[in-house]
Amino acid sequence: MSFKRRDVLKAAAAGALAAGLPLPLRAQGAGNLRFGLAMPLTGSQSAYGKDQVTGAQWAVEDINAKGGVQGRKLEMIVLDTQADPQVGINAVNRLISVEKVPVFITAWSAVVKAVAPIANREKVLELSVGASSPDVATLGDYVYTTFPLADVDVTAVARYAYQKLGKKTAAVLYINNDTGVDAAKVYREAFEKAGGKVTVYEAYDPKATDYSGMLLKLRASNAEMVHIHGLITDIPQVIAQMRQLGLKQRVSTYSAGYNPIIVKQLGAAAEGLIVTSLAPGANDRPQVKAYIERWRSKEGRVPNGLPYTQYLYDAPVMVAQMYDWLLKQKLAVNGENMRKALLGVKRFELPMTGVTEVDATHRVKKPVYLLTVEKGNFVPLATVS
């Protein structure tokens, strides 16, 4: 997830060094198997960040309740990044030099990129869970993603439009930041490779509110499918203005659109919207059903960005499996060996997202779940492996 809507008012100096207090999940004693989690606990992305942290915390609790890893407890140290690169750098510095973790989990492309040099330099394993920018695969030896990068789901939805929906021409409208720019390229490549033609390829400024010029270009082009790659703050506005200008094409977007807010804001105009999800739903895996129930009973709601929280639940499970391998191999606990463990285990069976295979390409391939809005609800449309 690469939400770029930054909280402008982070007060550069104030934000720069505000890496909150570490929240260790201390199960008593030394001998704990430690790792770090750097997430936005405050700031504009905190609604998503906090829920993701909750998912991870539940995983740690569950693992420790079952006896931990070879009798030793997992200990997760949580620090705030505010989804801001500078704050993230500070948080990771603390995790590495003060808390001395051999591996840490983080998200949000800007933070993932900003702390990559530190991870590589200090030889500490960085697991990016949720950032989708394709750059993440090239950030260095110690940076691995457990979340599929943009090319996976965008390619799937592009191919689906051509092959299954029979759309021969498409328009790509994307937000002018690195999430949008990268994803738009992926869509165009995939759609044209499948045999279609992209007739409109327009970027819009993140701060724009009037898309009529761009949409009129769209109207003039008669593209059959429209793919919008933006943020949850602008995707509904673009669709709304599309419909108001009389444009009736079917719209697709990526996982950022998989959010009930869109349906609320658009009402009937949301019908037919295609979104992607990179995590199995309640109908695909019983563990996910139970997980959602757990949210309902403990928090009284569904988590923000459900699929991302699923990946965050699985992340400590991966770390536990890595520690297991490490201990079995009788290797010292440090970043270098953690990285060996990651590549050594290679194939992880994870409760909420299924099988994840990690390799030297620094990427993972997962099935893409396509959903669509029908009568105001998201219903499964197809699954693409």
């Binding site: 008012l9 270009k217 108001q244 200008l245």
Partner: protein, 294 residues
């Protein structure tokens, strides 16, 4: 692409979308004209106005009219407090423009932090749904929101013009804008006029945020960006001219809307600043004054 229907549609939608920008520019411009103050606290006013109305509609479940009145009341209270306890003190001390800049900016920041604390940073719209009914006139799609925007802007703009021109208070406002010390000599209370100016600005700010927030999602820090547009439009329109600012706001909005036909959309944001720079260099008094002088 240069089909008249398309051009006409862009014109209409561009005009309608410029409505809230015009309102923000008028507010900013008026305060500048009357008080010679670059009111960077307007971002704070805008944020407070929106969230007050948002709370009224969504948390207290009040009808729209009551929500708007509530928004006006809360923003007015905050603005007047700001003027009375803040600006008056700085003015009495003859503080420099830098100090005023920091003070007004920091007040906006403070307001944003308070609102973040209370409302969080999830983007929200004023009403749950952002679409309004659309009708097609000629070949142009005209939505209810468009009509509201244009209507409210014209109504408030004309009301302000009439007020300034024909009412006694309005004349006092103009007198103080022209020369505050001289006006005081004639018995006009400059302090009261400042309060009046801020009150008018509040009305425009609330109207603008109502329009903006019913169409786009807002976060506590969004008004800062919107306000920058108003600043640039004010400058382009000539610093003593509210009408100039309003026209500049319309012009800039239309420029941005039409520009997508000529330049890649990612450069749209830059246009504003290019214009700003060109203006400063060649028309330091504002474009209108520049042309008059030429």
């Amino acid at each position: 692409m240069f089909d008249p229907a398309v051009l006409a549609q862009i014109l209409w939608t561009g005009l309608a979308t410029s409505s809230y920008m015009v309102l923000f520019t008028i507010a900013f411009s008026l305060v500048l004209k009357v008080m010679k103050l670059w009111n960077f606290a307007q971002a704070g006013m805008m944020a407070i106005a929106f969230y007050a109305m948002y709370a009224a509609v969504n948390r207290f479940a009040w009808p729209t009219a009551a929500a708007v009145v509530f928004g006006l009341a809360v923003t007015l209270a905050a603005t007047l407090a700001f003027e009375i306890w803040g600006l008056r003190t700085l003015r009495a001390r003859r503080s420099s423009s830098l100090l005023f800049f920091i003070f007004t900016l920091v007040c906006s920041e403070f307001a944003a932090y308070v609102l973040t604390l209370v409302f969080g940073t999830e983007p929200v719209t004023l009403f749950p749904e952002i679409l309004s009914p659309v009708r097609v006139i000629g070949q142009i799609a005209v939505s209810d929101w468009d009509l509201l925007g244009v209507g409210v802007t014209l109504a408030l703009g004309i009301a302000l013009a009439l007020y300034l021109r024909f009412s006694r208070d309005g004349q006092f406002v103009l007198a103080v804008s022209d020369n505050a010390e001289l006006a005081e000599l004639y018995g006009i209370d400059a302090k009261r006029v400042y309060l009046v100016a801020f009150s008018i600005a509040t009305v425009f700010v609330c109207a603008g945020m109502y329009l903006y927030g019913s169409r786009t999602a807002v976060i506590p820090t969004a008004p800062l960006q919107l306000m920058l547009f108003a600043v640039i439009a004010t400058l382009l329109g000539g610093m003593g001219s509210v009408l100039g600012g309003a026209l500049a706001a319309v012009g800039l909005s239309l420029l941005q809307s039409y520009s997508v036909l000529f330049i890649p959309s990612q450069w749209q944001g830059l246009i504003l600043y290019v214009f700003l720079f060109v203006t400063i260099l060649f028309f330091p008094g504002g474009v209108r004054r520049g042309f008059k002088a030429a």
